[in-house]
Assembly symmetry: C2
Homo-oligomer: 240 residues x 2
DNA sequence: CGATCGATTGAGCCCTCTCAAGAGAGGTGG
DNA sequence: CCACCTCTCTTGAGAGGGCTCAATCGATCG
């Protein structure tokens, strides 16, 4: 099998601080896998056999509650690592990863992680930063869900998706993978109905343009203004 | 100044895998600090000068939004590390840490982190697990806020606090630090009024016993049942 | 060209928030 | 040691944002 070209991945956060030789040694243990659109990379609860770096495509990480409700944890963009359950001490994947587009990822056996980290401690440091960033993002989400109305949360979610995975098109910025109203609802803690109504409203006002699993931000700035509006603005109580 | 007794902290997650000698070397760089009840350990936005391990007391980590609303990120129990901004690549603290009780913490200068990690890579691995756990907890919170009613979220929050920092008392388990209705509201994304009404209801039903900044769970099991009740139970939509 | 999946939209309700008052508990200073 | 003051908690009334239920439409794909 062809090994991965080190120069293609050298700039990724996971590999920061490594020279070509070390990188080669790490990459030698990885396999490159292809996942068809809508196929599962791994399932929540499954044994965490591998960890991944996404090379092409997009992957959705989602959690399902015991009663069957799903929420979207995040979308993985090319260059990001995912499925790092083993690194944070988990035996099983805490979420399901689904390719939302035809995707390609590097995969390492989880069993290799302890050895790799022992030899290349920088891997742990790099992963620590990545996981730290995710923690910040998750806290941001908690704050938004605690303090903002649905419309603002949806606006923030779309702006983040556009920033992370936006593609410039004629009339604005398009989110570069298929995303449904239901997906947005599961990212913002609301229902697909409310998302649909909200997007319809924005579309009429010319802020966005959308279709089946497709959203284009035409006026990102106006959307940002809308996202930051505070309905009950007046400097709420601060702990003394 | 008296250095810290290694045997007292050897079992903490941050120090897992270290021998007495290494531990001594690490602890030599730490100072032990006392924080009076209601004093700030550090403030959100401040330069991340130190990272900490809590020895005694309890610390609340909270975030304030630009418009002044606060949410409680978590409560730190003895043995946990906090303020690890530097480790995850942040220059400034992303939250405010406040001692809710008279507290004692070990503090290391953030500047020492890179050197310590270089010499003791296990520190990074241990911290990675800790941060990973926090990420899981934060995701759990997102899931709860997305799928559960306020009453269930409050029940879950109290059960977690009791598990983490509960103290057995005559009539049940008491949360072992001062906690107001407002605090609970800021943990669950609701208002102090709703928390007050909810707790009043539970108190009348004998599930809890409470007073000023004081909550005792009398019937943890019944509270758990209540927490897991799914109002709209019927197996909601699952992605095919 | 039919079938399936995603999107739209209306009607009605209810959980929770907002607004408002007031009472009780603790702490503090004279 | 008492009076006062502040902080926390309680409770009522009313409103409304978003959910639920329901039906239809449209588009994409086999």
């Amino acid at each position: 099998m062809a090994t991965v070209d080190p120069s293609l991945v050298a700039h990724l956060p996971l590999f920061a601080g490594f020279g070509p030789e070390e990188l080669g040694e790490i990459l030698r243990e990885a396999r490159s896998l292809r996942f068809a659109k809508n196929s599962a990379v791994f399932e929540q609860g499954e044994d965490a056999h591998s960890f991944f770096v996404l090379l092409h495509g997009h992957v959705r990480a989602s959690k399902t509650t015991p009663s069957g409700e799903q929420i979207v944890v995040r979308y993985v963009a090319p260059g990001e690592s995912f499925g790092v359950a083993t690194a944070i001490g988990l035996q099983r994947y805490p979420a399901t990863a689904t390719a939302v587009d035809d995707s390609v990822a590097l995969a390492w056996p989880s069993a290799a992680w302890p050895r790799l980290v022992a030899k290349f401690p920088q891997l742990a440091t790099n992963t620590l930063q990545t996981v730290g960033n995710r923690l910040q993002e998750s806290h941001t989400r908690v704050v938004e869900m605690s303090t903002q109305q649905v419309e603002q949360r949806i606006a923030h979610a779309l702006l983040r998706l556009a920033k992370q995975s936006g593609r410039k098109v004629e009339h604005g910025v398009e989110i570069d993978f298929p995303i449904s109203r239901q997906d947005v609802a599961q990212m913002t803690g609301t229902t697909l109905h409310t998302v649909s109504r909200t997007l319809s409203g924005w579309e009429q006002r010319g802020l966005i343009e959308s279709g089946r699993q497709r959203i284009v931000l035409r006026e990102p700035h106006k959307l940002l203004v809308l996202a930051e509006e505070t309905p009950g603005e007046s400097g709420p109580p601060v702990r003394p």
